[in-house]
Amino acid sequence: MNEPVRAGAAVKLESVEFSYGETSFTFDVAFVPGEITAVMGPSGSGKSTLLNLVAGFEMPQAGRVVIGRTDVTLEAPANRPVSMVFQENNLFSHLSVEDNVGLGCSPSFKLSTAERDAVGEALARTGLDGKQCRLPRELSGGERQRVALARVLVRDRPVLLLDEPFASLGPALRDGMLDLVANLQAERRMTVLFVTHQPEDARRIVKNMVFVENGAVAAAGPAEHFFNGGGPEAFRRYIGSENESRDVARKRT
C-alpha cells in the first residue's frame, strides 16, 4: 500500500470532475513537490472539496488524481500516500494521546518497539512530552492539533493536507503552530496543501498559491506574486485591502 513515493511527491488533479447535488467542481491543477502551497478562496468555492478529492474522501466522477507517479483515483484514503489534519475531530476522544498517535503506525494498536519509539519521538518533537496518557478533552485546542501533527510524523507520508487546522486558535498560538508545520515540512520535505482563510498564515510559511473560485482553480503561482498585487482581481477582492486583512486575521473564525 505504501509505495515508495518519497519526499516531495507531486500532487496532480487532471480534469477532475466532481459534483455534490447541484454544485459541480472541475479541478485541473498540479502542486509543487516538496513545498507548501496555500489553497485559498471564498467560502464554498471548493477548497475543502479539492483536499477531500486528494485525500480520497470524495471520488471524482471523471478525471484522475495522481500522486507522485501513481494514479490513486481508485485508492481508498488509507492507501494513499497522504496525511490530513482537519479543523477539529482529529483525535478519537476516548483514546489517550499516545494511542491516538499510535494509530498512525497501525490501525489495530499492534506496535513494534521501533514504532513505539517513533511515537515517543514524535510526541517530543511536537512538544507533547509528558502528556502521553492524557485524553483529548484534557488538552487545549492547540495541543490537540499538535497530537494530530505528531501522528502525521509517525505516518510519514509524502503529502500533507491541512484543512484550516488552526482556524480556531488564537493569533500567537497559530503562529507557533505554523512555525512547527514549517519546521516539520523542512525536515521531511513533504508536499503540503494548506487551506486557510488567513493571508497572514500564507505569508508566514507558504511558497505557492492556488486560488479557488466557483468550483475551479482560478489562478495559481508563487505566493509572492499574489501578495504583491499580482493575483487576479478576484483574489484581491477576496483578501481585501492590506489593513482590512489584518483586522480579519485577528478575528477568530
Binding site: 496532480k12 487532471e14 480534469s15 470532475e17 459534483s19 455534490y20 447535488g21 454544485t23 472541475t26 479541478f27 485541473d28 491543477v29 498540479a30 509543487v32 480520497g56 474522501f57 470524495e58 471520488m59 471524482p60 466522477q61 471523471a62 478525471g63 484522475r64 495522481v66 483515483t73 481508485l74 481508498a76 484514503p77 488509507a78 492507501n79 496525511s83 490530513m84 482537519f86 475531530n89 482529529n90 483525535l91 478519537f92 476522544s93 476516548h94 483514546l95 494509530l103 498512525g104 490501525p107 489495530s108 494498536f109 505516518r155 505557492n208 475551479a216 482553480v217 482560478a218 489562478a219 495559481a220 503561482g221 508563487p222 506574486h225 499574489f226 504583491n228 498585487g229 499580482g230 487576479p232
Partner: protein, 576 residues
C-alpha cells in the same frame, strides 16, 4: 499591475500549465471516469454487509409468516372465504370500537394532566410522578392486568366499596370496561409524557413574554399551549390507537368471552382452541389491513410510533398560577396519579400476600424463570446486534452517496425495522404456526420463535436508543478512520465500541424487559415443556390459582422494572 498578470495563468478551462511548475496532464480516461470508479473499491464496507444480513433476517421472519398464511389461504380458499362471516365482522367492529374509546379516554385527560404538570415545573415529588408514569412502558401487560383485577375485580380491594356504591354485588370488570381501564392505565401516562415533552419544547422566551404581558391561564392556554398541543395531538392519538388496536394480552386476560374479543385474540383462539387455520388466515389478513391503514395515516401525520423512555428535566418557567387553577391542577394530577399508581400498588399488595417462598422453590416456576431469562437475553442480544447492523449500514450508505438520492437499500435500512410495527407479533407467530404445524413438533420451535420475534419487536426501540449515538460518533470519526485505514473489526472494537457501550446497554436492557414480559408468541407456541413466566402466569390465572398468579406478577414486574431503571440510568449517563 496588468503586466504582472502575465505570470498568472488560468489553468482551467484553457488547460494551459501555470507558472512554469505545472505540466500538461495525461489525457484523462473519461470513459472510465464516468463509470463511477467508487464501486470498484468501496462496495466492501463490512457495515453494509452486516446491514444486509440484518435486513435478510427481518425479511425472512416476516416473509416466512406471510408465506405460511398465503399457502394456507391458497390451500383452503373456500374455508378462508367462509371465515368472513358475522363473527368476524363482530370481532372487527369490537376491535375498532375498544381502540377508539381507549384512545379518547387516554388522550383527552392526558392533555389536561400534562398541562397541569407543565404549569407547575417545580414541586415535591414531580420527578417521582414522571418516573412512575414511565413504568407502564416496561411493565408487562399481564402484570398490569392482574393489578387491575386485584383492584377492581370481583374479589378486588375495591369490590366492597364498589358494591355498596352500585347497590348489589360488584360484577367485576371483565369485558369492555376492563379493557378500557387497562388501556388507559398504559396509555394515559404515555400520552402525558409525550404532551409534556411538547410543552417543555415551547421556548422560554414565549413564557417570559406571556408573563410580561400579564397573560392569565386562559389566554396562555389558547395562545401558547393549545397550538403546540394541537400539533402533537394527531400523532399521540394515532400512536395510542395503534397500541390499542394491536393489544393482545390485555384483551386475552380482561376481555370476556366472544362479545369482547379483538382480532388478535381471535387469531390466537382460532389456532390454539378451534384448530381452524383458514379462519386464522382471514383474521390475520384483516388485522394486517387494519394496522396498515393506521400506520399509513400515522405516517401522514408524522407521528413517531416508538415512544421514548427518557424525558428531559423541566426548564425554568415564568408562570404565575392563580389559586383556583392551582387547586384544579392538583386535583387532576392526584387523580391521574391514583389511577396509574393504584394497579401497581395492588400488584405489590397482592403479590406479597402470596406464598413467595414456596413459589420461588417450585420447580415449574424456576424452569419458567430460567427459560424467560435465557430467551429474553438472547432476544435482547439479537435485537441490539440487528439494530446496530442496520444503523451502521444506513450511515455507511448515507455517507457513500454524495448529494444523490437515497437508494432502495438505504431506505430499507432506515425504515425497514419500522415495518414490524405493521405486523404484530401474534400475526408473525400465527403465520409461522400455520406454516410449521405439519412439521413434527411445532411447539419445540417455541424458543426460536419467541427469541426471534421478540427481538424484531424490540428493534424500533433499540434503534432509537442507538442511532443518535452512532451517527454522532461517526460524524466525528468517519474521515479519520478512512484516513488511518481503521475498518471492520478493528474499528468496531477500538473506535465504535467505547461511545456505543452505554446506548447499547440501554437498548439491551429495554429489549430484555420487553421480551421478558411479552405474552404474544409464547401464547401460541407455549406448551408444558416450554414455558416462560408470563405463560406460567396465564395458566395459573386460567386454573384460578390467583394467589400464585399475583406472586408471579410481582416477581415479573419487579424484574422488568429493574431492567427499565437500568436502561434509563445508562441512557442518562450516555447523554451526560
Amino acid at each position: 499591475m496588468a503586466r504582472r498578470d502575465e505570470q498568472i495563468v488560468l489553468p482551467h478551462p484553457t488547460g494551459t500549465p501555470f507558472s512554469g511548475w505545472s505540466e500538461k496532464g495525461v489525457p484523462t480516461n473519461r470513459f472510465l471516469g464516468t463509470l463511477q470508479p467508487m464501486h470498484s473499491t468501496r462496495t466492501s464496507d463490512p457495515r453494509i454487509h452486516a446491514g444486509i444480513i440484518a435486513l435478510a433476517f427481518v425479511t425472512l421472519l416476516i416473509g416466512g409468516a406471510f408465506a405460511g398464511l398465503i399457502a394456507e389461504g391458497a390451500r383452503d380458499m373456500s374455508g378462508a372465504y367462509a371465515a368472513f362471516d358475522g363473527y368476524l365482522a363482530r370481532v372487527a367492529r369490537f376491535t375498532l370500537w375498544q381502540a377508539i374509546l381507549s384512545t379518547l379516554f387516554s388522550v383527552l385527560p392526558a392533555l389536561f394532566v400534562a398541562r397541569a404538570l407543565a404549569r407547575h415545573p417545580r414541586f415535591f415529588g414531580r420527578d417521582l410522578i414522571l418516573q412512575l408514569f414511565a413504568v407502564p412502558l416496561a411493565l408487562p401487560a399481564i402484570v398490569a392486568a392482574l393489578g387491575i383485577l386485584a383492584l377492581y375485580g370481583r374479589a378486588g380491594y375495591f369490590a366492597g366499596f364498589l358494591s355498596e356504591l352500585g347497590g348489589g354485588t360488584w360484577p367485576g370488570i371483565y369485558g369492555l370496561s376492563g379493557i378500557l381501564v387497562a388501556h388507559v392505565f398504559f396509555n394515559l401516562p404515555l400520552a402525558v409524557r409525550l404532551f409534556l415533552e411538547v410543552l417543555h419544547a415551547v421556548p422560554a422566551d414565549q413564557w417570559r413574554l406571556a408573563s410580561q404581558l400579564g397573560m392569565g391561564a386562559r389566554p396562555a392556554f389558547r395562545l401558547i399551549e393549545w397550538p403546540v398541543l394541537r400539533q402533537a395531538l394527531p400523532g399521540v392519538a394515532g400512536l395510542v390507537f395503534m397500541l390499542c388496536i394491536t393489544s393482545f394480552t390485555i384483551v386475552l386476560t380482561l376481555g370476556g368471552g366472544p362479545r369482547a374479543t379483538t382480532l388478535e385474540v381471535a387469531i390466537y383462539q382460532a389456532l390454539r382452541f378451534d384448530f381452524d387455520p383458514a379462519r386464522a388466515v382471514s383474521l390475520t389478513l384483516l388485522q394486517i389491513g387494519l394496522t396498515l391503514v393506521v400506520v399509513l395515516v400515522l405516517a401522514r401525520l408524522g407521528a413517531n410510533t416508538t415512544g421514548d423512555a427518557n424525558l428531559q428535566v423541566a426548564p425554568r418557567r415564568y408562570h404565575s398560577v392563580g389559586k383556583g387553577e392551582a387547586l384544579l391542577n392538583v386535583t387532576l394530577i392526584v387523580l391521574a396519579l391514583a389511577f396509574v399508581a393504584g394497579p401497581m400498588a395492588a400488584t405489590v399488595a397482592a403479590g406479597v400476600q402470596a406464598d413467595l417462598g414456596r413459589l420461588v422453590m417450585e420447580d415449574a416456576v424456576r424452569r419458567a424463570a430460567l427459560t424467560s431469562m435465557v430467551l429474553a437475553f438472547v432476544s435482547a442480544l439479537l435485537a441490539s446486534v440487528l439494530s446496530l447492523a442496520l444503523i451502521m449500514a444506513r450511515r455507511a450508505l448515507a455517507l457513500r452517496r454524495s448529494g444523490q438520492g437515497r437508494t432502495l437499500l438505504e431506505h430499507a435500512t432506515d425504515t425497514g425495522a419500522g415495518f414490524v410495527l405493521v405486523v404484530p407479533p401474534i400475526v408473525i407467530g400465527a403465520g409461522w404456526f400455520v406454516l410449521l404445524r405439519h412439521s413434527s413438533d411445532v411447539f419445540a420451535l417455541a424458543p426460536v420463535m419467541v427469541a426471534a420475534v421478540n427481538a424484531v419487536m424490540a428493534m424500533p426501540f433499540a434503534i432509537r436508543a442507538l442511532r443518535p449515538a452512532y451517527d454522532a460518533a461517526s460524524e466525528r470519526h468517519e474521515r479519520l478512520c478512512a484516513l488511518l485505514g481503521i475498518s471492520g473489526w478493528n474499528r468496531l472494537k477500538l473506535i465504535d465500541w467505547p461511545p456505543l457501550r452505554r446506548p447499547l446497554a440501554t437498548a439491551f436492557a429495554f429489549a430484555m424487559a420487553l421480551s421478558l414480559g411479552d405474552l404474544g408468541v409464547i401464547a401460541l407456541f407455549g406448551s408444558d415443556s416450554v414455558q416462560t413466566l408470563p405463560y406460567l402466569l396465564l395458566s395459573r390465572m386460567g386454573s384460578y390459582r390467583t394467589e400464585d398468579a399475583a406472586g408471579l406478577a410481582l416477581i415479573l414486574g419487579a424484574v422488568c422494572l429493574v431492567l427499565m431503571l437500568a436502561a434509563s440510568r445508562f441512557g442518562k449517563e450516555a447523554s451526560a
